[in-house]
């Protein structure tokens, strides 16, 4: 297949405190023709893996290559959406200010050009939040903030889109729209999603990367209850998420799902 390698991790070990390994013996290759979802329990190393791919931390041993470059070289080709809960929601910025941050220049100098503004307006339009442009970021709902941050990631005009927990806090009405959007986006760029919610493993995802200290790669068609409980280390209830369910049903399912997860 004419697929490009976008992420190539070989022989990687990482530890935050030099005693306990958070990630051990990781081999992972992601191609740009697949949509990948990274799943695993909280504390299993998803975020660590993400930070390694972004070059925010360095592996103790092994290599990470993004688009055949080291992550700190390639990071400007990645559009990253963090979880909005990590941001200071009282900070006085409006939606346009936030999205324009995706157009920040290399180095120390920082002015936005007319082209930058046009790109920002285009991605706002694409996420169907053009009418929010002048609204303060602090006054938005959780789902709206999420969309603004995805728009900011798109404003980087990335080759890889990296979304950290995009379905958390999203309003059910937008969920279906969001899948639709992903379907469109993956034609232009490779999409990697991180989610603690295995329910996200939907028909859209081709490859599931399971992270719990070790990393295992599955084709989403191979995902079975046994495979998942192997990763989570305990028995969990599996519910097949059909996306033609109504939002209320989905919510109900998620609830069951989480109850099941806690029950060892």
């Amino acid at each position: 297949m004419g697929c490009r390698e976008v992420v190539k991790i070989e022989n990687l070990n990482f530890s935050w405190d030099n005693s306990v390994l958070s990630l051990e013996d990781v081999f992972l290759t992601i191609h740009d023709c697949e949509m990948v979802c990274i799943v695993g329990p909280n504390g299993g190393g998803k975020t660590t893996l993400l930070y390694l791919m972004l070059g925010l931390i360095k592996p103790n041993s092994g290599t990470v290559k993004i688009l055949n470059e080291f992550p700190d070289k390639a990071r400007r080709r990645i559009g990253y959406m963090p979880q909005y809960l990590k941001l200071d929601l009282q900070f006085p910025v409006n939606v346009m200010d936030v999205v324009l941050m995706g157009r920040l220049r290399h180095g120390f100098w920082g002015r936005y050009s007319r082209a930058d503004r046009e790109i920002a307006e285009r991605v706002l339009d694409e996420m169907s939040i053009a009418e929010l442009a002048r609204r303060p970021f602090a006054e938005l709902s959780g789902g709206q903030r999420q969309r603004v941050l995805i728009a900011r990631a798109l404003a980087c005009e990335p080759e890889i889109l990296l979304l950290d927990e995009p379905t958390a806090n999203i309003d059910p009405g937008f969920q279906e729209q969001f899948y639709e959007k992903l379907r469109e986006l993956r034609k232009r760029m490779s999409v990697v999603i991180v989610s603690h919610d295995i329910g996200f493993v939907s028909s859209e995802i081709d490859t599931v990367v399971c992270v719990n200290r070790h990393v295992a790669v599955h084709k989403s068609s191979e995902m079975t209850p046994e495979a998942i409980s192997d990763i989570y280390g305990h028995r969990i209830k599996m519910i097949d998420h059909q996306h033609d369910l109504t939002p209320q049903h989905l919510k109900q399912h998620h609830k069951l799902h989480h109850i099941g997860e806690r029950d060892d």
């Binding site: 972004l54 990645i78 963090p82 941001l87 120390f108």
Partner: protein, 310 residues
């Protein structure tokens, strides 16, 4: 009032004129940097830096006397001490695993102690109060020129790199991923905080300067939810507080620094109260609007029947 304006021009009272000019020009830097301090939540760093200035002042006076260095104006010591403490705090918070607030507290107190020791070692009388709380009687033309210079050093970069500073303050990680040198940017911001603190020492002193750095921006934050209008508004408020405080101090024959700080504090308190009242009123009218009478009647009936059955 006419009397007051004519004394502004009187050569015998030139200190008054310069105090006003320092207040007005300095307000531009205070508005910009104060907004960063409030939104980035680094008021405690600004507090530590301002108290460290006493170490610089003490050292400058001590060495001037010991070695007869007549050119060694205390303000040079202030600038060095402020920058040094800002850089130390910045480095500690970036590269070590120490608790940041502990380090800030330590630098705060040790800076002050160093200053007091230097001043104790200086023979003759030194008016410490003038540095702690400002003394406009001592404000000279040199102080004004120094303020203008520092003002330029702070304002020019904060305008040129506005977008970068905003990005680093809002989401440092994302800014780094965009290729911004975030550590350098943050360090420059801390240095600009340091210079701003020094800027008005002669008028407000090093203890009460924190009021003038944080309160105008805190008030402005209630009126606008964007960064640059917040800066403009807090600069205007800062100018109002300093000129208001100085005018009051001239008329009431009271020290100016406490009046300026009290004025800023009163404005802040009033803003909080007014906005709390407005929010309460809005909430109440919203609740009333949302009250669907039909719904209410149904609820009352059903609960009545429910209780009847059980």
């Amino acid at each position: 009032m006419i009397d007051f304006f004519s004394s502004l021009n009187s050569p015998a009272l030139s200190f008054l004129k310069y105090a006003f000019l320092i207040g007005i020009f300095g307000s531009v830097s205070f508005g910009i940097i104060g907004t960063y301090i409030v939104t980035k939540r680094i008021a405690s760093i600004a507090g530590a830096v301002s108290h460290c200035i006493l170490a610089g002042i003490g050292a400058a006076i001590f060495f001037r006397q010991q070695f007869g260095l007549a050119w060694l104006h205390p303000i040079y010591g202030s600038v060095v001490a402020a920058l040094l403490s800002a850089i130390i705090i910045g480095l500690v918070s970036m590269y070590t695993k120490q608790r940041e607030d502990t380090v800030i507290g330590a630098i705060w107190a040790v800076g002050m102690a160093t200053g007091l020791l230097f001043l104790a070692g200086t023979t003759g009388y030194v008016d410490i109060d003038a540095y702690l709380f400002g003394n406009i009687l001592l404000v000279s033309r040199d102080d004004f020129i120094m303020t203008l210079v520092l003002n330029l050093i702070v304002i020019v970069p904060s305008l040129l790199f506005f977008n970068n500073f905003m990005a680093v303050c809002f989401d440092e990680q994302f800014a780094e991923l965009r290729g911004l040198r975030t550590k350098l940017t943050y360090m420059s911001l801390l240095c600009m905080v340091a210079l701003t603190v020094v800027l008005m020492v002669s008028v407000i002193g090093i203890i009460l300067v924190l009021a003038l750095l944080t309160l105008p921006a805190a008030v402005a934050g209630h009126f606008t939810k964007r960064l640059w209008p917040m800066m403009v508004l807090s600069a205007i408020l800062c100018a109002i507080f300093t000129t208001g405080g100085l005018t009051m101090s001239y008329h009431a024959n009271l020290p100016s620094a406490p009046l300026i700080a009290a004025l800023a504090g009163a404005a802040y308190l009033m803003t909080i109260i007014v906005f709390a009242v407005i929010r309460r009123i809005k909430q109440r009218s919203n609740n009333f609007r949302n009250l669907d009478l039909e719904e209410l009647r149904k609820d009352t009936f059903s609960s009545f029947f429910d209780s009847g059955v059980s």
